[in-house]
Symmetry: C2
Subunit: 98 residues, 2 copies
């Protein structure tokens, strides 16, 4: 379900983050910390939101852990920083500027 750090690919990350909805998602996670899927309140259907979480998860950008009836999402910051130094920070900085 969650890819290992080594199997995270650059193309996968760039693709996952090229979607404005997913970009907004990780921006929220970065600024407000870990949140459940519902707390992130996307303006799309539940199934669509679930799809976006899956894309981010399978790209290795977020991790999800069950907590009661909900799932808590958080950035895999350490893994990303060690595998692709500076990339996440540059994207987050750019997403604030734009």
């Amino acid at each position: 379900m969650h890819p290992s750090k080594e199997s995270i690919t650059l193309s996968g990350i760039l693709y996952a983050l090229s979607d404005p909805t997913r970009l907004a998602l990780i921006q929220s996670l970065a600024s407000k910390g870990a949140q459940s899927c519902g707390a992130l309140s996307l303006p799309v259907a539940k199934s669509t939101a679930s799809h976006h979480f899956r894309v981010l998860r399978e790209a290795g950008i977020i991790q999800m852990q069950a907590e009661g009836t909900q799932f808590i999402n958080s950035l895999r910051r350490d893994d990303l920083d060690s595998r692709f130094p500076g990339l996440l920070d540059a994207v987050l900085l750019a997403s604030e500027v734009a």
Copy 2:
């Protein structure tokens, strides 16, 4: 044909670079400097290569200038660095690691 610096979007850049063929293209431009389309010798049909150049150009990542019968491609490094500091470098670094 070439977008202004201000109209370059983060999503556009991330999407354009999420394709392995295009990523390889800009990596070659970064390491070997400006090159014609032909010199970059992609393993695809001419029309397909032209499509990839167009995507990179319209995303604001490269600029193309006519030079005789050919087009010289180069990175819009200054524009990218000023608009999204550190992003291009992080991607290029990541593309070397991976």
